[in-house]
Symmetry: C3
Subunit: 314 residues, 3 copies
């Protein structure tokens, strides 16, 4: 693996899942591969799980980690040819090239702005960084995808599935704030790399981009989707068609114990953080069917798997 | 030691003081005990001494340390059953459990809010974290106590005392802002674990909670308290009875050279940071009797002692 | 080397440049010298290159690094005898002495305030820290100088020069914000330690302090300065005479390809961050003559050289 920008950087999911299993069983078994290597983690947005799990994973491999909250320091210009006489102090051409001088790997988190759909879906920031960096970039969640999360989700389902081809439901759920579509897009993309049965359900107006969902089974009937499901993956996202907006159609989509009873004793998954009793009822999260904590724990395993694959090629 | 939430986690102070002495003499003598262990330090409030000394102590033992300023990232909900549709993005149930996946030890700093005495004195935040975390918690100052500070204070007195049973005076001192009672409460609690003579002195209205001071010698006459003292420990705190308030009774309580002349050539102590010429005169802090810097240095020794005791049991 | 506050801490530039060359070729060749040593980096101001390069350099030498953003935590009082009843929570006497307890080396970044020229040019903050710290201080840019930058600039010129005594031009360039004179002052100071030909050019009103420029060749004619230059070093600074101000005289000082054509195929240098098409045209920065990225890379080499010299004396 040369970099980890999106699912397309992973050719053989199954072979990596096997490596992840070995890493899960022996976190420190390969702690010399990162010796004298430094990973710089750049956060344009806040992070708990991604930061801790990636830093831990890198340290498990023997790397040094330097964390920078970019927005605190100065604004970065992404437009070519810009006359930089306003609030942006440095161009990505310099920023990415300079950080590459001090890092062997760069991790980058940059959320969707939710203002300009075209810019977000072009992955302008991620791609500009990758273009001007001279070391591999690891996507720590970008405008449209969150591949470390989704890869960990596949690994989690693989660990908990009770049948070869489980039915996996991605369901929209309510939330008071407008959130990016990245986790949902990415989940769909990675499910397509497996042979699981995927059903997507959301209210009208919350359809994801067909760039991700073409060929997927989609229904507006949440209860129908839940029937016989083996995994319920809940997530909020804002509208793609009315870009970045919250629509007044979302009552009654919270995940409840009553709805979970429609499933085949399904495991409940969420990428976290999750708003209790808004996205999902306490009773679901506190039930033994909830695997959200194990799902979070797997973030470290998958980050370590990805980093060790990249380190091999350095 | 299984955790370090309060003084009650320490059964044998004297044996730990002996270990601390050895650690002070050889900081790196046990630098493999923390190998492949990670400590996450979570700060709900700013920190200099506690952060530096704990991080240094953990690294002396061979651990990795990851520091997070929690408040910067997102609000945590501590109420069970809350409908989380406002400003809190994650419940402590998930936050504590998830961080436990990436950490072998969690350090937590969370000051008193000084609004709701009952909530502060229940140690709600600390206790909720400890309840939902699955790894040991180390208290880096909580609403009502600061045990790493107080344990270091005992170690400091032990180092500087010239008689077996020194007279130790905890004196209130003025300050422009309303501060928690944690350092004072905790100091009283730990003094009771020793056989020193303790006298507490404060203006009327600034009495500490009897939960801590029952059985203590207390006087409203600061000068009387200072007579023949071997150690003067100065600290400001806000009112416990008129909770979190600054009362208009605090003139003339600043520690001066004149007052120090009443003592038995006492050492001057303060947990720092200290406001010069408000809490204490320059002349006192700059005198050879001031041991505030050594006291701060001992924070590292004690943090290392506590962490190594917990690591032994991991 | 006992500390690194300014150029006067470096006696033999040439011998250090040779050491830097060896470090550049083998970054990890001396990675035990910092074992069990901790460097605390204190930032009163934001930092990208300085933070990353210094942290990387320290880690290359085997040191632990702890980074603190000081301004976020609390204000520090620098006045002797102050009655600290306002916004400053700790005096530099305590802050510097306490941090020295946990650190073997302290790095300090503190920009000019640009309000009070006398205070800035006295280097009050840096000097107060150095006075009360009990471990060596490394200047990560102070009010009037940035020696790690300038030393790296000398190393860069040394690497790229095509003749024994190149003509080096320091040219003022436009910028929308008022910036300190530190980089320019420092560059002049370090150029004087070499035998290069130095020419300084700036508009009227932007003359640097004669404390730095006495004996230097200075011209108000930028184009004249550029003739036959081997290195163009561009930098903005605010007025020293009308202290900290931006004067309305700065049109047409941007570095352009047309101006670069006047030179002897000169290398273009800038300390970064640089505002494209304000300080310098895209065409110059994107040309093969621009060595700004290599210049930034050399920050790590020079930081490591300086730190290893100080570590030798610990």
């Amino acid at each position: 693996m040369k970099q980890f920008l999106s699912s397309s950087d992973v050719l053989y999911v199954n072979s990596l899942l096997k490596k992840a299993k070995r890493i899960q069983q022996d976190s420190y078994g390969n702690n010399m591969i990162g010796k004298n290597k430094t990973m710089v983690l750049l956060f344009f947005n806040p992070s708990l799980r991604t930061r801790l799990s990636t830093q831990k994973a890198a340290q498990n491999l023997g790397m040094h980690v330097i964390t920078m909250n970019v927005s605190q320091a100065w604004g970065i210009e992404f437009e070519d040819g810009a006359v930089m006489n306003l609030d942006k102090a440095e161009h990505v051409k310099e920023a990415a090239a300079v950080i590459s001088q001090y890092a062997d790997l760069i991790g980058l988190r940059t959320f969707a702005g939710l203002q300009d759909r075209e810019a977000d879906y072009e992955e302008k920031i991620l791609n500009q960084f990758a273009k001007y960096a001279t070391v591999p970039i690891v996507n720590l969640e970008s405008a449209t995808v969150h591949p470390l999360q989704s890869f960990a989700d596949v690994f989690t389902i693989e660990t908990y599935k009770k049948k070869k081809r489980p039915k996996v439901v991605l369901t929209w759920a309510p939330h008071p704030r407008a959130l990016p579509q990245a986790v949902a897009n990415s989940f769909v993309e990675w499910m397509k790399k497996t042979d699981y049965e995927l059903v997507i359900t959301q209210p009208k107006g919350y359809e994801l981009s067909t760039q991700f969902t073409t060929g997927c089974s989609i229904t507006y009937d949440q209860q129908e989707a839940f029937h016989d499901a083996d995994f319920i993956y809940a997530k909020n996202w804002s509208s793609y068609s009315d870009y970045g907006k919250i629509l007044p159609t979302d009552v009654n989509w919270m995940i409840t114990a009553e709805k979970m009873a429609l499933t085949n004793d399904a495991c409940f998954m969420h990428c976290l953080p999750v708003r209790r009793n808004v996205v999902v009822e306490d009773m679901v999260l506190d039930s033994p069917n909830s695997i959200v904590i194990q799902q979070a724990a797997n973030r470290e395993v998958i980050a370590q798997t990805v980093l060790s694959e990249i380190l091999k090629n350095l």
